[in-house]
């Protein structure tokens, strides 16, 4: 019979048909349950099942994370399958449903997870689970899936499953567990020559006692995690079959196009709906507090009818806000440069500035909602389907349990679709309520998407640095505005006096987490300034940094590796240069070297970016490489071209013609190497982003003597004074 115990944080049950289900946290603390679990227990939210073994010897692993191209679902399944010694070809991976039982608090382990020992760890995980279950959170972001859910949840679940399958086999073979070996979903007893598959052992495994601290494999025995199996989501992404939030359809579905108050916080003042109501296919015009929507029998008809309306909105009193006023306020708040030691031989100061940035996911915001008398259903691609549920419920005045959410593939997340930035779900729900009971798919135009974001905050930093007579840095300090925290301002360099102080300068522009968050600004600020300090010391920028890392061996190893990869010291032709940058974020240390050329008339070509990454260990080596490559391109696009500007309180840019993105022709060659340091797993979704802007601007300086302190680069003149040379 299945056992759910109060003490263990792992629970098990038996499936109808003799399968074996294993859950982690959560449901283990429901009152003791015995008995057979039905096949649909998961969908009823009765069971928090992460691993299921069925009599056909298939292992199904449910992962409480979305798929947005980062491969987290497969990576976590690989981690569990590794601990089980499962046959990878007999493993299926599925996204966990958006049910309370699958609320995922493991991401909380990112905050001090390493330091929580054993039993306290289980209590921490249980407490976190209850909290996220109450809030309704199942987030994917912060580069956390592998290093928290994977490390603290999936591996333990896999190891527990393995021990119970081995225990079942021991009973069956009349042997002791230590005499048995496991490989490829089979348990063997060498002594008798007997073996049994996981499928054959499943029913008996469910009756075993649950190990509260199963032993995890050591890295030298890994056969799955460090391989590179093809991603299971890729085939449907090359043949048009993949269904993203924007693709979902239902019979009788209507389509909504929406216009939202241009200034964040603004309200709809008035709109004459008649010009839309008479248009072909229009079923309704919905007036909301901050928006007006046209609902029709096709998206194009909705959008065409919407274009006939002339709504007026107020500006929430922010009509005087512009990029100029925002940066002027930053400048004011920063004050004088930080004080430097009076006995310094050399003091330099520099200001840096970065703009607001849009996430610009390729899939614009979209969702389908159906509201009827009993509740609502939502279909969308988000980075947190439980928060989507809470958001829709709140918008509809319903209890969360009256709303069912199905999470679909996400056409780019980058933080735009994180919990608490799911504004589009609430909006789609309110429109659907007005059209109840017809399901309504709301699609944002690119213009609406571009202008109603949660932007990467604009920022400014004022640095000062001091060198002694020997050229060694005495002090580095900055005042910064626009956001920052301990991780983002951290410098690994041994400098006696390091300071970073936040200066407050508020503005009403809605901001949020953009891939690598605060590290995207400070990675540029701090590594650009250290470079300037190196040149002030008349030192090579690589050597200058290296000499300050004697107390940080991991940073030192990364810096040495990337310099070697880039052949740092080899000579380059005129107008070509290399820049180096070293940034830790989300638990991973990344060093990058950019090799650029700048033509006499100022055309920048980023030829090659090298990246050395210490993320402890790597799960799915190819997908991991892809994440670093992608982060570099994402950061490079922003550094070269990305800019959201504000005028009259609203966003100016509206589409890809004015919020430009880089293309294939701009893309450098990218070389990535991982250092397997054996330290705790670090993230990979974001850490490739922070170093690239400064690596490129540092390279531009090496190539041209032109120091760029404001992004994007496209706004800066790179034309040389003597263009004829």
């Amino acid at each position: 019979m299945g056992k759910w115990t109060r003490r263990a944080f792992i629970g098990t049950g038996t499936l109808v048909g003799g399968g074996f289900v294993l859950g982690v946290v959560g449901a283990a603390f429901s009152p003791s349950r015995h008995g057979v679990v039905s096949d649909d227990a998961e969908s009823k939210g009765e069971l928090n099942t992460w691993i299921t073994v069925t009599p056909d010897n298939m292992v199904t692993i449910l992962v409480p994370h979305c798929e947005m191209g980062q491969g987290a679902q497969q990576a976590l399944a690989m981690m569990a399958a590794e601990e089980m010694d499962a046959d990878w070809s007999m493993v299926r991976v599925k996204e966990a449903p958006a049910l309370d039982a699958y609320a995922n608090g493991y991401v909380a382990r990112a905050v001090g997870g390493e330091s929580i020992p054993g039993v306290l760890g289980r209590a921490f995980d249980y407490g976190t689970y209850r909290l996220v279950r109450w809030y309704g959170l199942q987030p994917t972001g912060g580069s956390m899936s592998v290093r928290t859910t994977g490390r603290f949840g999936m591996t333990v679940a896999g190891a527990a499953a393995r021990e119970m399958l081995v225990a079942a086999a021991a009973e069956r073979f009349g042997a002791t567990p230590s005499e048995l070996t496991v490989s490829r979903s089979q348990v063997h007893h060498a002594g008798s020559g007997k073996s049994a598959t996981f499928g054959e052992l499943a029913a008996a495994a469910a009756k075993q006692s649950v190990p509260s601290s199963p032993a995890l494999k050591s890295g030298d025995t890994y056969t799955i995690r460090r391989t590179a199996p093809p991603r299971p989501d890729i085939p449907s992404k090359v043949n048009g079959q993949a269904i993203y939030g924007i693709d979902f359809t239902l019979p009788g579905m209507l389509y909504a196009a929406v216009e939202i108050a241009p200034v964040y916080g603004g309200k709809l003042v008035s709109v004459d709906t008649a010009p839309a109501e008479s248009m072909p296919g229009v079923k309704g015009v919905v007036k909301l507090e901050e928006a007006v929507a046209v609902v029709a029998d096709s998206y194009w008809r909705a959008r065409t009818a919407l274009a006939n309306l002339e709504p007026t909105f107020d500006d929430a009193g922010h009509g005087g806000v512009s990029s100029q006023t925002i940066f002027a306020a930053f400048d004011q708040a920063l004050g004088a440069p930080p004080e430097m030691p009076k006995d310094a031989a050399t003091v330099i100061t520099a200001d840096y500035q970065v703009p607001f940035l849009a996430h610009a996911t390729m899939e614009p915001m979209a969702c389908t909602v159906r509201v009827d008398g009993s509740g609502a259903e939502v279909w969308a691609g988000t980075q947190d389907p439980l928060n989507a549920r809470a958001t829709a419920a709140s918008a509809l005045g319903l209890n969360a349990r009256q709303v069912a959410v199905t999470n679909l593939l996400v056409g780019g997340g980058f933080g735009r679709k994180l919990p608490f930035s799911l504004d589009f779900i609430g909006l789609g729900a309110r429109i659907a309520k007005a059209m109840s009971p017809a399901p309504v798919k709301m699609i944002w135009s690119r213009e609406t998407d571009m202008q109603h974001g949660y932007y990467r905050p604009a920022g400014m930093a004022r640095f000062a640095g001091a060198l002694g007579g020997d050229g060694k840095p005495l002090a580095v300090a900055c005042h910064y505005a626009g956001g920052g925290d301990g991780e983002s301002v951290f410098m690994p360099y041994t400098i006696a006096d390091k300071r970073a102080d936040a200066k407050d300068a508020k503005h009403p522009i809605r901001t949020g987490a953009w891939r690598s968050v605060l590290n995207s600004q400070h990675g540029f600020f701090k590594e650009a300034f250290i470079d300037e300090l190196a040149y002030a010391a008349k030192a090579d920028p690589y050597t200058f940094r290296l000499n300050l890392l004697s107390e940080e061996p991991r940073f030192r190893a990364v810096l040495e590796r990337v310099a070697a990869m880039a052949d740092w010291k080899s000579p380059l032709p005129p107008r070509e240069g290399r820049g180096i940058s070293l940034v830790e974020s989300f638990g991973s240390i990344v060093g990058q070297v950019a090799h650029v050329s700048v033509s006499p008339d100022g055309a920048l070509r980023v030829k090659h970016v090298y990246a050395a990454v210490d993320c402890g260990d790597v799960v799915n080596t190819d997908a991991a490489t892809a994440q670093v490559e992608g982060g570099i391109i994402f950061g490079l696009s922003a550094a070269m071209k990305g800019e959201i500007t504000i005028a009259g309180g609203r966003v100016v840019e509206s589409n890809f013609h004015d919020h430009e993105m880089i293309h294939l022709s701009d893309a450098p060659q990218i070389t990535v190497e991982f250092i397997h340091s054996g330290h705790a797993l670090g993230g990979l979704g974001e850490p490739g982003v922070p170093p690239v802007a400064s690596a490129v601007t540092n390279a531009i300086f090496a190539a041209t003597g032109i120091r760029i302190r404001r992004l994007p680069i496209k706004n800066q003149a790179l034309r040389s004074a003597a263009a004829s040379t």
Partner: protein
Amino acid sequence: MAISLTVNGRPRLLDLEPDTPLLWALRDALGLTGTKFGCGIAACGACTVHVDGQPMRSCSVPVVAVEGASVTTIEGLAPEGSLHPVQQAWIDHQVPQCGYCQSGMIMAVSALLAAEPHPTDAKVDEAITNICRCGTFARVRRAIQALARTE
């Protein structure tokens, strides 16, 4: 307005306003959601289809303009159950991440290689201007180079 055209080898009759973009005719009227909406101003390429063998950004092609034409979408690039060499290369090189831009990318690349089987890198850069936010360009390039090397 009744507009007849061929889509993925099948004759179709559409009753739509003549200025309806081909993109939305495909997605909403015909249920072919493989072709994606990214920008609506032909800047991103996510909506790329083949019209009489030529790559076109369907968000900016009014359906009346393809009356009588033969349109191929990502769903019809290869016969059912098989893969076009570009699709196979995309799997071999694990090109897609989120994948949303890749229908358009594959349609653009397949059209280029049909016209020019062994393009130079410069020609590829000029022809393939699709936007990819996940940053798969390094793999797109490698996959195209591998395809360009084959007969």
